[in-house]
């Protein structure tokens, strides 16, 4: 039995981009304002979950052929390894640093190493949330 979900699908196609953009914004804002890897990751994964709801699992898996368990594992590995990266510079585990760079378009920009760590957190959150939702949907 297929429901008529034309409206949901059409809206999702637009909404997913808005959610993804907002997720990336939250992720980047997190250094000084509310946001960060965890919240950004949650928002990003909500976009994926919306796609899975509006379309069916097979279609989305064709477009996004990831094993989300591996995405989560990759995220944890990135987060842990960036934490140990500071050991190479003789600092404590999880130490961070930042510097200002003059980038072509953005002008003077603050780049912080904590961003690398947070990207690991975001990937971990996306992987876990989507894995949970997909496993629940398989049960029914």
């Amino acid at each position: 039995m297929r429901e008529n979900d034309l409206i949901l699908q059409t809206v999702s196609k637009v909404a997913v981009f808005i959610i993804l953009t907002f997720g990336v914004y939250l992720f980047l804002a997190g250094h000084h304002h509310p946001g960060g890897g965890f919240i950004g990751g949650l928002t990003l994964s909500s976009a994926f979950v919306l796609l899975y709801l509006a379309f069916d699992v097979e279609t989305i898996n064709k477009g996004l052929p990831f094993d989300y368990k591996n995405v989560a594992a990759l995220g944890v590995i990135i987060a842990t390894l960036t934490g140990t990266g500071s050991l190479l510079f003789g600092s404590s585990f999880l130490s961070q640093t930042f510097a200002y760079f003059n980038l072509p378009i953005f002008g003077k920009t603050e780049l912080a190493t904590v961003m690398l760590f947070e990207s690991g957190v975001a990937l971990g959150v996306i992987g876990v949330v989507v894995t949970i939702i997909i496993s629940i949907s398989e049960d029914v």
Binding site: I77, S92, S95
Partner: protein, 493 residues
Amino acid sequence: MNNILVFPMIVPILAAMLLLFFRSNRSIQRWGSVGAMAAVFLISMWILQQVMRRGILRLDFGEWLPPFGITFVADIFAVLLVTVSSLVTVLCLVYAAFVKDEKRESFFLYPFSLLLAAGVNGSFLTGDLFNLFVCFEVMLLASYALMTLGGEKKQLTEGIKYMLINILSSWLFLLGIAYLYGTLGTLNMAHLSLRIAEAGQPPLLTTISILFLVVFSLKAGLVLYFWLPGSYSALPAAISALFAALLTKVGVYALFRTFTLLFYHEPSFTHTIIGYMAAATMIGGSIGALAHRDVRKIASYNVVIAIGFILVGLASYNEAGIQGSIYYLIHDIVIKGLLFLLVGTIVHLTGKSRFDEESGLIANYPLFGWLFFIMILSLGGIPPFSGFAGKLFIGEGAIGAGHYGLTAVAFLSSLFVLYSLLRVFLIMFWGESTIMSKNQVPLPIGTLAPLLALGILTTVLGLGMDVLSPYISEAADVLMNPDLYIKGALQNN
């Protein structure tokens, strides 16, 4: 800056995550996890030497100084436990690698075991109460997965109880942390200790300490052990050995930390309660161990008795008692690993779990039978095995503190331990062999090897008491003198 301290926690995490990518390659799963834990064992041996030479080591995460940042504090007590539990984890994983339970292996048996080890090591090393909660949760989440892995009916019914009771106790733990932060405004354990000492532990703080006592008693199985025998006996051998060797010991460790470092000002109240609880645990455990005919249940009740016994040392709260408890904790991690692996192997070999349904196993598996006998002697505290030193010191401590009744209960419970397992040995291993030698299930040398290693370990620990004793007395010294811990954990180094 002692970055090495974080490795016992992150090496297993990294290894677990890498293993997720090799789900289908079983030999990488098996030997990768064994290799990772062996590395952790070597690292912790090295840390142990460092701590012995340089005193308490501390690592400030991200260079945030205590009491504001999160710290790992390695005193001898913590590092000894990390070392022994890593070694026992290695041996349990080797056992699992040879048993080849492919159904569970393909559902991430090894990554979950590694995460469990990471949580356990983190709990031992952390110097911050909230971080202790986090590491507990890492360990518990992994244990929930291991508990239900395989999806047998008995596992699921026991798993639900296990999860509910642990979620409840985690909630109480969080509540206790909130109360403590609300009253004292810090969660760094050394800093907490300072502030509690300044305040002189008024009744309000003593009340909060009782909340922690309840929480850690639930985790350790002190009096509140009703969830333990059912859930531990529903598990396959390697996982149950991991659980029995590590999980309850983390609760015991937390009890020792809180009641020697934080809430040590009212021993006539708190430590007396712990004494009564220890006695009740030993009595209840002994009754359980004698009442059951299922060997796995008997083994689980033996875990309970040992918890009570270890806490007699804390209840006496003197140098000898604490030393005895540390000896006995180390011994118990080794011997409970061995006991559960042996019991799991019996069930695997005979397909039966009641001890009166089988006899004469020693004719079929002579070495295995004698290992079981050595394990009983060690568990009963017969010299020269490793249980002896702990029993001796705990007894000395309890008598020194004037707890004569508690001493009597403790040593009677040892007799019950001996009796409950000797009964199993006499009936299952002696007598007429019921298995024809051509029908017997083969016992591969690979699965026997970790059992043998644990058997040798308990003997060596018993004989090598002289090598171990400087570490133990140093560890007990730090536990009995909170100032040493505070100095190590707060001073700039």
